[in-house]
Symmetry: C2
Subunit: 403 residues, 2 copies
């Protein structure tokens, strides 16, 4: 109706203004003119409180700048391209450390001048490396870069599907192989990244994409009543806390990944599962009816999670929820999905943005009070907020028939 069209237009303008504000904040405060790369430990006012450079966040910021430059007219500016390029240069120069056996691992954390401080025994630094380098190759037209992204991706796929030994984790008898939802989600994200507009790649990675989707769908458990974060390699529930763990924001993110996949492949079945399971269930179980907002972690049987931060309200689950509900609405036009979008929107914009110094707070108590007041940290960079705002702006433009 007219009411919701008006409200959507209001949202669109607000989201657009917020995106401008957030981009300005990071352009202003996060660049290192001396060594290149990005500072991500930015205090409330944007001042750098730690010079470590986190590889996940370097990769994500390069990707985000490129995506903005490539897809939004008002961000197609030399300043943004330059920032993406120098970030990419830092990443390509310093992120890779030799992993032995001719394999490349990416570090998790670097000093300001690019020396490796820590290497994680997981695939995520490498994933964000691929996202960054591939997206950068799209704005620069550098085919060597594209090839480099593909090579790293091939190695990743090998770690996940063939031989994880290059990750450096000793195989222990009690450490059963698990399907942790983050892994197929990340890989699906990479498949979507490298396949966009490339029919050859689409063909090459079609099987991998389907495998990722199947792996994600294995997380629908309890006769379809819950999304669980970790399941066994053959899709059964795992015992203990790890098996009962729920991460509502992560499930919502998986929801919109699946919605994108469903739209690309015209798969109505997956769209239905995405909406009914990955979007509806985490909201139903994860929304705090007393104080509003999404819990960070929950236990499906109602035990207390062992994560100290389980009841905190983090910025990124709310980002994922906004994208998930708006995309679900735009694909299905079901009014209850729009209603939920508005509900998450109201909580998010009344709690996270900092009207004094710009950008968003990342970490609130269960009651909604700011618990950590920095704008960037080891896990909060220039990624979830701008990606959410960009995607919401694009979906709203589309819903409102803007050009």
């Amino acid at each position: 109706g007219t009411m919701s069209a008006e409200k959507l237009e209001e949202c669109r303008q607000h989201v657009r203004a917020q995106l401008d504000d957030v981009v300005t904040f990071w352009l202003q405060h996060s660049h290192d003119p001396v060594h290149g790369g990005f500072f991500t430990c930015l205090g409330r006012d944007g001042r750098v409180y730690d010079e470590l450079k986190y590889v996940w966040l370097q990769g994500r910021q390069v990707w985000m700048y490129c995506r903005l430059y490539r897809t939004v007219d008002r961000f197609r500016k030399p300043e943004i391209l330059e920032a993406a390029k120098t970030g990419g240069e830092f990443l390509r120069k310093f992120a890779r450390v030799s992993g032995g056996g001719g394999q490349w691992k990416c570090a998790f954390c670097l000093t300001r001048d690019g020396k490796a401080v820590k290497v994680q025994r997981t695939i995520f630094s490498e994933c964000f490396y691929v996202m960054a380098v591939d997206e950068l190759s799209r704005v620069t037209g550098d085919t060597d870069m594209q090839l480099e992204a593909e090579q790293m991706m091939e190695q990743l796929i090998c770690w996940v599907r063939v031989d994880p030994s290059g990750l450096g984790r000793p195989q222990l008898p009690g450490d059963v192989p698990t399907n942790s939802m983050a892994v197929p989600m990340m890989l699906l994200c990479l498949v979507q990244q490298v396949c966009e507009g490339r029919p050859d790649a689409r063909q090459k990675y079609a099987e991998l994409g389907s495998w990722c989707v199947r792996q994600i769908l294995q997380h629908v458990q309890r006769d379809g009543a819950a999304i669980l974060e970790n399941v066994s390699a053959d899709g059964a529930e795992l015992p203990g806390c790890s098996g009962r763990l729920q991460n509502p924001g992560h499930a919502l993110e998986a929801g919109w990944f699946l919605l994108q996949f469903a739209a690309e492949t015209g798969n109505a079945e997956i769209q239905k599962t995405a909406v009914e399971k990955f979007v509806a269930l985490p909201y139903a179980s994860g929304w705090d009816t007393e104080h509003g907002g999404l819990f960070y972690f929950l236990d499906v049987d109602g035990h207390c999670p062992t994560q100290l931060e389980w009841s905190m309200k983090l910025w990124w689950p709310h980002c994922e929820a906004l994208v998930a509900f708006l995309m679900a609405y735009s694909q299905t036009r079901k009014p209850e999905l729009l209603h939920r979008f508005f509900q998450v929107y109201d909580y998010t914009f009344s709690h996270f943005p900092d009207s004094v110094s710009g950008e968003w707070f990342g970490y609130l108590t269960q009651e909604g009070k700011v618990a950590l007041d920095f704008k960037g940290g080891p896990f909060k960079g220039f990624f979830h907020v701008p990606r959410c705002l960009l995607m919401c702006e694009q979906i709203l433009d589309d819903l409102l028939n803007k050009d």
Copy 2:
């Protein structure tokens, strides 16, 4: 005066009753009659919510049972000895995994039946292994066991002071060697453990003990105005968050370790530093004047810590504070130290014990509300609470001239 003697007697009786309650809780709920060892994931009512067995906590529980059995008449019971023995058996049978190069690493976490799930690249599992096995050898009189504890200790010392490569951490160019206060604290604790009543060991480990004390004293920084958790290998302040990190509960624990060392060696200088620096400073900076209780982490320059749980009130810093203030008072008889003890005591006993199901909650919000309601978890076992209560009872007995 009479007033404080009365209050101390009240404390003594309350602490004693609390210790009985806590011992009963763990005897009742944590034993695994099938595989041996201890469940530590115990819900509010004591029910097991996860069967994983954490090696730190297995070792600590064995140690605690033995220490109670060995030093307190009313706990010199077959049931406690039996529990310690079966726990020790589980630990000795399953905790050690081959680390390559003829070295033994201890796992961090085992399945219920003792299969290794996770190995940390640190020394702490091994430290608690040594504590447990040495203390057990004292109650059983088993010299093989004592030897085994010593062998593991020798390997530990080698990792810390000679060659850390056996820990499995790759040396990275940006990862500068640091003096993390936990390491010399743990080693000093082990020195005190293996030297008790053994003149030969005392001689053998005298140099190591002094080294540990020097390493701990390096954490007094900022011209004596602050205790910092991590310093460089030569005792200088480190840059960034890691260098500015303060952990008030940990500094207080270091305080009473130093007080014990000072008493044993008759070193008045170290006693003075322990009281003025390690006991007074963390309390001054770490006590929440608004809501009461000790913060978990702080940044010495007032930046927001990056640990999500920084402002939470955890049980164990309060345990350490009780021991630190009471021991400092008993050694110096300074009334302000007794006053602080009472203040911490009032907060602790009005917030942590669960009057409904017994034992203590471990994790409160900054405001003092229970945030996680379980009695045991991956890091909370049968250790900090009973050790604190036992030590307070013994010091109070001594202050009040009880036998």
